[in-house]
Assembly symmetry: C3
Homo-oligomer: 273 residues x 3
């Protein structure tokens, strides 16, 4: 993957304004919509069973987020996901807090069975849960496993037969054969709710303009992490209120030069498969 | 309509703090409540079928927004709208993304049949959809028709027998005979989610203190667009995060002088009816 | 209660990051999560009947908020509350707009019957409604009674057999015998939606690290009001947008020195019981 890909894809999103259909939770719906708008994408939130198949068909990407689930919304997600699959629309899963309750774990498994996901993004605990590994989960934010992010992404991508994005201090992306590591980002992201959820939606926006899921996901992570680093610099201290606003500003104004200077990713070699 | 009406009505809202009952979507509920509070109104969100009729009766205006619909909420909206009609409480429709799915189009029609709306506010695509005109709709934000905003507002107001507000580069308001154009506003409003939804709620606040729907809506648009222009100046660049915060500040602090200097509207003459 | 308690408990929250399970409304979910994160707590929102009992058991505190109720969510709250009671997890009630509709009043009574609350936080109108006193209620924000806050808190605490927090110009906390008054806070808090709801969640965070409900609640109020005072100073004027952001910053950065300088509470003497 070329170093200029994140720039190229960001410019494409800003030029074509892909429509991203989100079925998401009540906590992050506003931040997700504002983040996608700032980026140049066109968000739509619709979660009624009467309309999700139709909306998914019209969208350029679909993002399913299980943050505040209920039975009605799970049905709406399955309809949206199946419609996306039938119409060749990329579809992303964000398994928020999978493992925290049996309902979340089972819902995530049900979605994995019914829908072919183009990509799955979660933190290490959530991804570990999807493949039946035990890990400590606390709420929706934390989550640590003993496995290295790259190894976890690779193993999950193989087992789930899709592209897996593991977010953390270092992010990892794997399609089951290649593994990429992304070094951008800032810890203050964990002090603003919905930054993981928005990242999944942003992966959807990149998938809308790039066929290869690994290229799309790595580009999304580099762009997102760079925006966070610059926003943190502008906020001057660990101020989660100011950071949240600056981060939206950066998603809207991030330049090719910023991505050239800050962007940092690598293809991991020597993975034992 | 006198040039000082927006000032007069804004001061009235700040003095009497009208209670605005919103049935709205999960994306914009927070921004709508904060915008109404900043303006001086008193927002309440309640969407349970068990209580919407009672809440609507107690309110000074009701605003129905179909942004994230489901069957339960449609029932709650009909109960609220009928109660508002019975109790002479003004009621506003925001037909978010009408035309984007059959469910939205049909729900909007159902609400139009069951409820007498005091005013309807949408972008050109949404309004065109309500009167059966075809238009391109993409997501919830964009939407263009070939019709001039003033002509569209006039035609829709006649067909729907109410006051119609068409938001866009130039806003238009018509009650089926008169047409007003409002020239305030700024394109960055389209980069913050819920600015259209909040505008509908703000129309509700103005209707709560002014009987004539055209006067109320034009005043709301002038005030809202002026706040946006000043907020954009304060944000110094097209920064959607900073703009969102400055816009709330402006809704709270906008002065009579600001409205005198910035306010720009006209009665359109020579409409071919 | 020692003057240094608020500092001690704030530091404990930042050290142990208690998991706070919120069942809350669509208006304030985002602000509540961001406020808890800024404070150092770990928020989780989950409102499906399939999972609330399990989530409540895993949490360090549960906060039930009736802001945008429906039948499904009431069931989920009862399951969460009963589970919290069985597992010795503190549980807080925020009876948003109790009294505004029969449904809210009845739901609040139902929750009081089914669940043993560790603390209840509301404005004067809401608390008065819980004990059958008439008061004017307008929307969800305002609310005045003729009773002094301290007397109201005492009376409600006795009748409801729990710790009651009455928010207002002066806040009052009572467990039915002692009464504390807290003098921190700023009126601009009433111009940002969800500041009451977040305060209830913050009470949950303090209850997670302190067994005595009065000590926890008074500490929460002192900390919260101090953060508001400093944030208002930083915002330089009554700007609700800027204040909202600065307030999140202050929740994250408030120091022991700030609490020493600003913190102001007293034990009320001579209450006629």
């Amino acid at each position: 993957m070329e170093k200029t890909k994140p720039i190229e894809l960001l410019e494409k999103i800003r030029a074509v304004n892909p429509l991203i259909h989100n079925i998401t939770n009540i906590v992050v719906a506003n931040f997700t919509a504002n983040g996608l708008l700032a980026l140049g994408a066109s968000p739509v939130m619709a979660d009624a069973v009467e309309e999700t198949a139709e909306m998914a068909k019209a969208a350029n990407a679909v993002v399913l987020n299980i943050g505040t689930l209920n039975e009605r919304i799970v049905d709406a997600m399955i309809l949206a996901g199946k419609s996306a699959n039938e119409n060749d629309v990329p579809v992303v899963l964000d398994p928020v807090a999978a493992g925290a309750t049996h309902f979340r774990t089972e819902t995530a498994q049900k979605l994995l069975q019914e829908i072919n996901f183009t990509a799955i993004r979660g933190n290490a605990s959530e991804i570990a849960n999807l493949i039946g590994m035990k890990s400590k989960i606390k709420g929706v934010d934390a989550g640590e496993t003993n496995l290295d992010a790259g190894e976890l992404a690779l193993r999950a991508a193989k087992e789930l037969n899709t592209t897996v994005v593991v977010s953390g201090k270092t992010d990892a992306v794997s399609n089951g054969s290649d593994v990429y590591l992304v070094h951008n980002g800032h810890p203050i992201l964990t002090k603003v709710t919905g930054t993981g959820c928005l990242l999944s939606a942003v992966c959807g926006a990149f998938l809308a303009v790039e066929k290869d899921p690994v290229t799309a996901a790595v580009s999304a992570l580099v762009m997102y992490g760079t925006a966070a680093e610059i926003a943190r610099e502008k906020a001057r201290a660990d101020l989660p209120g100011s950071f949240q606003i600056e981060f939206l500003n950066q998603l809207a104004t991030l330049s090719a030069e910023d991505l050239e200077v800050y962007g940092s990713f690598e293809k991991k070699a020597g993975i034992i498969q």
